[in-house]
Symmetry: C2
Subunit: 473 residues, 2 copies
Amino acid sequence: MSEQYGKVTDEIAARLGEIVGSGNLMYGDAEAMEDYAGDEAGPFFRHAPEAVVKPESTEQVAQIMKLANQHRIAVVARGAGSGLAGAATPLQGGIVLSLEKMNHILEIDMLNRVVVAEPGVVTNDLCRTVAEQGLMYAGYPMSTETSFIGGNVATNAGGGKVIKYGNTRAHVLGLEVVTPTGEVMQLGGKYRKDTWGYNLFHLVVGSEGTLAVVTKVYLNLVPLPGKTVDLLVPFPDIDTAVSSVAALVRSPKVTPVAVEYMDQYSVILATRYFNTSWPLQDTAQAYLIVQLEGADQEELEEQYENAGDICLEQGAMDVFVAESRSDSHNLWKVRQEWGPAVRAADATSYSACDVVVPLGQVPAFMAKVAEMENERKMRIPTVAHIADGNFHPKSMRPEGLPLDQWPEVAESVYHEMIQTAVELGGAGSGEHGVGYSKRPMFLANTPPHQLEILKGIKQVFDPNGILNPGKIF
Amino acid sequence: MSEQYGKVTDEIAARLGEIVGSGNLMYGDAEAMEDYAGDEAGPFFRHAPEAVVKPESTEQVAQIMKLANQHRIAVVARGAGSGLAGAATPLQGGIVLSLEKMNHILEIDMLNRVVVAEPGVVTNDLCRTVAEQGLMYAGYPMSTETSFIGGNVATNAGGGKVIKYGNTRAHVLGLEVVTPTGEVMQLGGKYRKDTWGYNLFHLVVGSEGTLAVVTKVYLNLVPLPGKTVDLLVPFPDIDTAVSSVAALVRSPKVTPVAVEYMDQYSVILATRYFNTSWPLQDTAQAYLIVQLEGADQEELEEQYENAGDICLEQGAMDVFVAESRSDSHNLWKVRQEWGPAVRAADATSYSACDVVVPLGQVPAFMAKVAEMENERKMRIPTVAHIADGNFHPKSMRPEGLPLDQWPEVAESVYHEMIQTAVELGGAGSGEHGVGYSKRPMFLANTPPHQLEILKGIKQVFDPNGILNPGKIF
C-alpha cells in the first residue's frame, strides 16, 4: 500500500522546517526518530517515520496538514505514545506530528468551570493545576502520569472513575481541530447544551487520530470532592466479588467512584513486585478496591460504611479502610503497576486486552477466561474496571512453550477474548481503542454496511486518506 | 425542489399498506392527515404529507425505507410532534413515518441498570415504569408528559435537570437504527465503555431524524434519589439572581438538580394563568427555582440549607421551601405552563427560542434582550435553564403593531437573539434543534468547510437524500 503515499523528500523536509522551525524538525536521523516509531502496544507494532515535526501552534498544524495533503504524505498525530493499540505507529512512514510542544493550559475559566488546554498537556498536570483552584477534571485514565489530554480525547480514554464520572467523552465540551485538508474547525466550546447540527466533536472523540488533529480541548470541571477513601475488600471466591459489584452499583446509598477488580494471581505478582503483601492474599481468590467520596467526613463515613456492609453481606472476608493518603497510594500503586509486575514475572507476556461486556455478562466472560487458562495450560492474570464490565486479561507464556510459537498463541487468545466479548453483547475495546492491533478483529466483527458508513465518514474528513492510515478499519 | 422527489402513488400506497397493514396506513384522507403536517413550532411550519404509516416493528421500518429509497420518496420520521423547530414537518409531502405504535418498553434490565425501549414510548411513562423498580431515567425535558423518547434522542433533548444529569445524549448507551437505505444497525448496547470505531450513536443523537430512524433505545438508569425538594427564591434584581447561579454551581456543598430562572413578567403572566400568585411578585424582578436531592432527609436538609444560604448571601429577598409534593407541583406547573400562559396573554406571541451561551455570558445575553425590548418597544418574557446558560425568550407583539407586520418583526428578533448567542460563544439551539425554523441562521453561522463535512456525512447515510430533507442545513 505504501506506494500510494508520497515521500518526505529533502525539499518537503525543508518546507516542514520552515513551518515549525528547524529545532522542531527531525529528519534523516533514524536513531533519534526511533522514539516516534510506535506506542506501548509492543515491539510488533513499530515502524519508522520519515520525519517528525513538533508544531507549536494551530496555524503550524494547519500548514503541515495542507502540505502533507498536497503531496499525499501520511501523517500520524502523536500524543505521549502511551497508547496500547498501536494507533500511533506510522505504518506508512511519512510524518509523525508530535503534539508534545503544544502543552499549555490556556485558560482556567472559574465561572464557567471550563479548562481550555492544548493537546500535549499531561493529564495529571492538568488535574493538579485545576485542583489548586478547587476544581477537578474527572476523566482519569490509569496512565494519567504520562498520557496527554489529546491522547485521552483520541481514545475516549476510560480508567477507574468511569462508573461515577464517565469516559473522557463525558467531560469534553468542545474541541478545536485541524482537518486532514488543513482547515481549522471550532466544535462546541464553553457552553453545555447543544443541538446545533450534527455533533462533530463527539465524532472526533474516540476516532484515534483518523479524522482530525485535536489542537485545543475544552473540558468540563467539577468541584473537587471534599474527602476520598479507598476500601480493600478480599473475597473467598470470584462469585461473591462479582455479586458485590452488582449490589454496590444498585444501591442508592453508595456512589462508588471506582470499583477495581484484581484476581488472586494478579495480587500475588503485583505485591511481590513491590515486596509487600495484601491481607489474606493466600486465601482470597479475588479483591475489590472501592473508592468513595464525600463532601465531608460524615458523608464519607456513611458512604464507606454502607459500601463495606454491602460487601460483607455478599460474603466478603473482611473490609480494610485505607483512609490516609499513603495507605491509598500503596493500595493503588499495586493496581496501577500491575502491568509492569506481570512483565517482571514474564517479559514475554502479551499486551493486555481491554474488552467490555454488559455487567450481567461479567461472570460469563470470567468463566471463558478460566476455560482458556485450563485448555491452554496458561496463566491469564486479570484486572478489571469491573463495575463497567471492562476487563484487562494479560496472557503469560505457558511454561515450556517455545518463544517463537508464543506470538501466534497469544494473538489467538487475544482474538478469542475479543470475540467472546462481542458475542456477549459487548465490544472489543472499552478504552484503549482499535488502533492497529485490533483492526483484524474490528473488521471481522463489523457488518459490511456499517463499515461502509465508517469509511464514508473517513472519506468526508480525509479525501486523500493521509491521516493515520491503516488504523481502526 | 419537490420535483426531485417521487410521489406516493396509489400503487406505492398499496405497497405501504401491505407492509404495515391497512389499519396503519393513512392515504387520501387529507383531513385525517392534518395532524401529521407539523409540530408545535407554529402555523408557519406546516405542510401536508401524502401518506402516513405507523409501523409496528423494526422490520416494517426497514421495508418502508427500502421502498421509499427505491422510489426516492421523502420520509419524515415522527415522534409525538411536540418539537418546537419544525423538524417533523414533511416539507416535500411524501411519507410521514409515525412511530406512535412502536411504544413498548421492551426490557428493564435491573442488573445492568438499562431500559430498552421503542421510540414511541412517552418519556414520562418510561420514567414512571422504571421508578416502580427504584430506578430513574435522568433525562427530563419539560415536555416529558407528551414527548416520545425517540424524539428526545433525535433532538438531544435537554430540560431542567441537565446541570446535574446531562442532556439526553448522556443517558444513551446504544441505539438500533434503520438507515435511509433500509439497513438495520445496532450501535452500542448495554455496555458502558466504547472505543470500538467511530461512535455512530452519538452522531445520530441530535441529528433530528436526518441520518437514520431510531427503532430501539438503550438508556442508562440511576438509583432513584431518596428525597427531593424545591426552593423558590425571589430576587430584587436580575444581577443578584445571576450571581447566585454562579455561586450555586461553584459550591462543593450543593449539587443542584435544576436551577430555573423566570423574569418578573413571566411570573406575573404564568401565575395569573393559574389564578394564583407567588410571594413578593410585585417587587421581585427575578425568581430562581432550585431543585435539590438527597439520599435521606438529613442530606436533603443540608443541601437546601446550603443552597438557601448561598442565595441569601448573594442578596435574595427570601427563600421559600416547597417540601410537599403538592407545593412542588404548584411551583413547577407555573414554570412548565409558562408557554401557554404567554400565549393566553398574546395569542400571536412568537415561538420561544432556545439559545445557549456560556454561563459567564448570561448577563451579556440578558442585557441584549433588555435592549431589544427597549428599542422595539416590546415585551420578551424570558425563562431559562439558567445554570446551563440556556434561554427561552418569547416575543410578544407590541401594542399597536398590525398583525400582518408581526411575523417579520418577530422573526428578526428571533434571528437577532440567535446571532447574539453565537457571537457570545454559544449556539443557536441548546435543546430544541435547528429543524426548519432555524435553518437560515444555522446556514449563516456555519463555516463553509464545516457545512461541507455535515453534508458529506448526510450523503454517506442517505445517498438519495430522502430522510427528512430540508432540515438543519
